[in-house]
Every structure is written in C-alpha cells, then in structure tokens.
Symmetry: C2
Subunit: 456 residues, 2 copies
Amino acid sequence: MSSERNYLAIATQSKKAANILKTVSNKKRCELLYKIHDALKQNASLIEEANQKDLKESISNNLSSALIKRLDLFKNNKFDIMLQGIEEVIALENPLGKVLMKRQLDENLTLYKKTVPIGSLLVIFESRPEVIANIVSLAIKSGNACILKGGKESINTFKIMAKLINDTLVNNFSEYGIPKESVQLIETRDDVNQLLTMDDYIDLVIPRGSNALVKRIKDMTKIPVLGHADGICSIYLDEHLKASDKFTKIVIDSKTNYPAGCNAVETLLINKKLENWDIFLKTLIDAKVTVHLMADVKKSFLFLNPDLASSQFVADVNEKEDFDKEFLSFDIAVKFVDDVKEAIDHINQHSSKHTDCILTEDEKTAKFFLKSIESSSVYWNCSTRFADGFRYGFGTEVGISTAKIHARGPVGLDGLVTYQYQIIGQGQIAGDYLGSGGEKQFNHKDLDFTEEENDD
Amino acid sequence: MSSERNYLAIATQSKKAANILKTVSNKKRCELLYKIHDALKQNASLIEEANQKDLKESISNNLSSALIKRLDLFKNNKFDIMLQGIEEVIALENPLGKVLMKRQLDENLTLYKKTVPIGSLLVIFESRPEVIANIVSLAIKSGNACILKGGKESINTFKIMAKLINDTLVNNFSEYGIPKESVQLIETRDDVNQLLTMDDYIDLVIPRGSNALVKRIKDMTKIPVLGHADGICSIYLDEHLKASDKFTKIVIDSKTNYPAGCNAVETLLINKKLENWDIFLKTLIDAKVTVHLMADVKKSFLFLNPDLASSQFVADVNEKEDFDKEFLSFDIAVKFVDDVKEAIDHINQHSSKHTDCILTEDEKTAKFFLKSIESSSVYWNCSTRFADGFRYGFGTEVGISTAKIHARGPVGLDGLVTYQYQIIGQGQIAGDYLGSGGEKQFNHKDLDFTEEENDD
C-alpha cells in the first residue's frame, strides 16, 4: 500500500461502498452485525491468543502499565462487554431515513428532511482493541463505510478481529449486498497521512486517542474532525453556597475520580466573596491533590492555614501555562474571580469547550452561567465526570467532540448521521411560481410527520 | 487596520460580543432589530445617495450589466423587500434555548440538550448590498456576532448601512446591553485573509458570492465554511416515463429558468431504454440550449434527426471537463446510462452535492434514487430550481451548503445555531455510580419536553 494510486483506491472504494451500504435496510444491516458478533464470539480463543502476543510484546518493549492495562482485552470482562456493546448498538433505533420535517410546498409538491449517513469515515484509534468492534457496529448500524487504523501495540489483536469482520462481510455479500470495502483497514501512520488529504472522498475523521494524536490530525486535514484535543474543564465556586460536603465532594470527584480522563477538572475558580473557600483547598490537599495557587490565593490561603505553608501539595500557578493545559494528574490550578462574569470570561477564554461547571445555590446565577458558557457541556451542581456518552444514555460512544458545529459533547449514533432534503413532485417547475416568471404561490404548509416510518 | 494586533482585536472582540449577545433575551434582540429596521427606513435617502454613487462608479468602471443590476438597491422594490426581510426574521420563532432533549439520568440529575448560537461568524459577500441587512438580522436573531466584508463595488452603500446599524447598537447599548462589536466591518481582502487564520475565535465562515470566492476561502481556512463552490446539478431520465410535456418542461425549467443559478441543471443522464428520448434534446434545442453530446448520444441523435446535423445547438461533450463544471449558461452535457445504478454512480462521482433529480413514473426506482444520492437535496419529478431557502419556506436564506455535516442544502436560521448539553444536579458525583467506583445506577428516563419553553 505504498503508491498514491492505492490510497486513492482505498478512499474511492470506501465512498463507493458507503453509497451502497446506505441503501441496505436496517434489518439487513442488523443481521450482518449479529453475524459479526457471532464470528468474534466463536473465535474468542484466536483473538485471545493474538491479544496475549500483543501483551507480551508490550511488556518486553517496556510500555507503561496504564497502556498495557488498556491493551488487555480479556481482563475485567472487557471482551464480553465488547460483544454486549454490539448487541446494544443493534438494538438502537434505526438512525436512517427518519423524517425530521415534512412540508407541503404546493399541492403534490412535498419537501422532506430525512436523516442519512455521513458517508465514509476515517477512524483512528490507539491501543484499546475493543474499539474496533464499537466503531464497526456503529458505522454499519448508521450506514457509513469506515476506514480503520488501530494502534501498533494492539496490531495482532486488531488484525485478527479485522479479518473476522471482513470474512463475515465477504461470506454474506450475496445475502446482504454489503461490500467488503465498507470496512477497510490501514496499518501505518503514513497511510493515515495520505488519506487525510482525500477530502473529496472521506467525509469525517474520528480520532480516538491522545491529545497529541487529535491535534496532529486536526492540523493535517481539511476533512471535519469529530473529537477533542484537550479537556480543560473548570469548576466555578460561586459565593452563594456553603463550603459543605455536598460541594467539596463534587470538586474532589471531578479531580480525583479519574484524573487521566478528559472530563476531569483542571481549573478551580473561586468567588472572592465565598465564605470558608479555603475548605475546598484543604479537602483537595487531604485528597493528595496539589493545588497550584495564584499569588493572591496563596497568600490568603496560608494566612488562614499557616500550618500548610510547607505542604508538598501547595504550589504556585504558572499563569502563562497552567490555565491552558490538562494536568491529567492530581493537580489543579486555582484562581480568585470577582464575580460570575469574570468566571465566565475566564472559562470562555481558556476552556477547551469540553465541560464546565458552576457550584451555587442561586438559581439566577446558575442559569446565567449555563447560558453564557460556550462549552459543549455545562453543569450546575454535579461532577464534570458525568460528561460521557454512556452516562448520557447514548449507548456506545463515538467520542466526545469539542467542535462548535455538527456533533458536540459526548457523541452517540446521532453523530454519524446527517440529513438530506428530498422533494417529491408531479412535474412542477419553478417558472410557474411568483418570483421566477409565474403566478403560482407556495403554501408552505407543515404536515404532521409523527406517524411517518423510517425508510427501510 | 494593518497590524496583526488589530486583527486579533477584531476576532477576540467578536467572540466576546458573541458571548454577551447570546445571554440577551429574544425580546430584546428583536426590539433592537426593529430599531435597525427603522434606522434604515428613515435614512433611505442617505442610502440611496450612496447607492447612486456606487452605481455611477460601476458604470464608469465598465462593470457588467448583470453586476450593476445586482448593485442597484432601489430597483424592483429591493429596498422595501430588504426591510420586509428584517421584519420576517423578527417574526421567526426564537431559535435559542429550545429544548431538544430532556433526560433524567438519576433522581434530581437532569440532562438537557438545548439550542445555542454558534458564536462568531465571518460573512463575506459580493456586490448585493441588501445582504448586509439579511445577515445582520439573522445573526442578531440567532445570538451570533458577525464580522462582515462586502464587495468593493457596493462599498458606499455598504458603509452607510453599516454605520446606521452600528449607531443603533451604540445608541441602545444601555437599554439592551448588546455590544457594538456584535456587528463589525472589515473592508479589504487582506482583512479577510488575516481573519481566516483565527480559528480559535471565529466559529463559522459564510461566503456568499462566486464559486471562485468560495473555493478560495475553503482553501485558506480551517474554520468550517457554510456555502457551496459549485452547483453541478443533474437530471436522470429513467426509462419509465413518456417523453411528454410534463417531463420536458422540468428539464427546460431546470436549465433555462435562471441558468446562472447554482440550482440550474448542468448534466442530463438518459437511460438507453427510454423511448423517444431524443424529444428531450429537441426541446432543449428549441429553447436555444446547446446540447453537448457524448459520441454515442450524438450518433443516435443525428441518426434520428439528420436535419439537425448542422445545428449550432448540437456540440460535442468534453468528457474530461464538462461533467465536472457549471456551464452557468444555455449549455448542458448529455450522456447515456444503462440503468439507474449507473446514473447514481455518475452523480455521486461528479455532482457537487447540491441538487439532483430523477424523472420517472416508477416509484421503486425513484425511491432507490432518493436513497442513493449523496447530495444535500434530491428530487423526484420536479425542477432542480426549487432548491432555495425561500421556496423551502425557511424565510431569509443564509446560503446553500453542499457540506456533508452541520447545515446542508438551503440554510435558514437553523444553520446559525448549534446545541449544548446542560446537566442540573444536586451534588451528584461520578464516583457514586457503577463503573466509576460506586453502586448507583443511571436510569436514563426520557422526559417529556414538548411543554418546555425556550430560555429567555
């Protein structure tokens, strides 16, 4: 796969497959997914063997234990959860051909707005091998072709699973008519780089992995990217609250429940008028979180708590960097603000549009905050860690998007569909209507579409 | 406005204004729009004076009559239609704060999905001066800040209208709190080029003008672009139809009603099995359309119609170019296809994803075509010329988009909003739930939101 011609073939065949796959009924797409589910299940031992090989190589290559943990497909029921995930996707409502609008433009001239697949997806993920099953089931369920690139650490697991999926497509082609190019595999970073230039054929790129991966991809392509580079989440402590368990728990959970998560909090903004604000910092320190304090915060905090002057968990903030980065660790940057407006300004300027939160007992302030924050998710009185497709009830998650348009926040199946306008007429021409040379008028009568069934 | 610092100021102030504008109620945003409407109306003579100056300069610069016609704001009631357009936008439903989903994640932990503005828009248009009123009313109605760049031919008209709009913002700031930077003006192409690099602040670019303009902008920026470069629309003549008036009229209207329009047809695909197919070509020739024929089409056509062998309206197709370009004139490229599948393949490969149409009396073939075509609009038995926001009943049109995601096809106010997730809790933390260390389970109960009112 080294010549330019082959990349073009991958991209054009993906687009071609997408245009066939989208015409296959939901019933058939789901039946095929069951066959993929069964093929993976029946060949669990083959997959485990490949996975063991990946694990051994990773251990001998001294990869981090966190990475190795992600690689292991057969620990903590991960394999079964993966298979269950396919069934859950199958059980979801058919996302295609759903009528979103139905309008009579004139007698026997009807405009429909319907959901359709996006087309061809390029999905790049890192070490977790179960992602291939998630992505393939989501793609086929939503009628999109996909080109997949997995992490090199899980290459053996990935290859055998990909082969099983592809064999299933080939073996069932005569029955379902779903081309095998609906799921294509690429292996190297160079493959990705070449395909990222093919914006005429590939409609959406979904990188699932490190910030560095997402940033690199966003910088390299004109194709829309569904994902997030950073998760710089903030919590604003308003003056209208008591420094009680209810609120300190939220801050602790947001920071410590899973600090490597993109939805972990990185910045704490404290209203100067809040009473006993230092309790929040002491609770963080008790939880072994290093608080990076602005000079004025530090001065006030140590004045109130002189015994903590030499604590290893009290540090200075680097103002130029710390409000614009993910710590991904037991660290948090802390700043005073005068009021909710200053908090909003800080967040809209520094946040990565992921998830931000206000803690307050005052409804008016909360509603102003909710309305003012640009981020894809914004919360009032709960942990930032809830920003997650499973927690939102979306089933299998495609990713979390910090873009301003199309899919935002945690993205489920909805993020893989778009819409199309269809008009069904009986010979009408524009020249008969006012404004284009004729006398007829449009009536623009919205019709009830709640009873419309999806195309199938 | 030549230093880099000033561009950064324009972009950051626009973003800042957007974040204030979005918190202003619909009622106030509409009241301000009425004041803008009145300011333009009361100063019609000033605007006409400036418009006359632009017209005189354009005439002395030998600009084309088509361009001069577009420039003239006081012909054919254009000025009154423009003012009426502002009122129509005011009358539209509030697009913001609309609940799209409401889900109980757990008791007293509720997820909302709500419409929000996109943020800061960069709108670039060419000669038609009335566009400024359209764009400003749409932007303010939808809570988006906008940076505007008009065509240099209409600079005088544009400047006075922009001044009137800005004065209205300044004079009413104390009452509505809408910052004057909600509408900012830039004047040169260099200004545009600089702002196109500011993807951290500007959320959407809307070019309204020539293909060349849109192509140039798409090539220059990473900011999402709402628009279309080409409108390569096709009509497929299926075998299941009679070559009667009903169908020839559609082809003629699609080609000749307004050939310069992006929704005019450029390609005619004819099923080989269609009887009397040559009638379509003869009707086109009668309408003074030059038919550019593939060799086999030409041979068959002239065999059936030897008298047309020397017609000036019969030409060869340039296969390498003519199916991938907009003629924008009384020209059409013509090709035989074996069946609907070949027509679909041709269209999905060559069309610009604008609007394509099938003519047929066979419902099954029509539905297969509707389901297979990638374009943002796809029609059965009516003119491609219906692809237009006014005809779709969207009120003032933002543009027509050939993108695969976000806004597609004719775009009204909906294209200027996106959504945001909001969670309102009472102290819930992720660590209490299954999967993150606790025992609690989410209930994911969808709640009725049909009675929810928009935020205001």
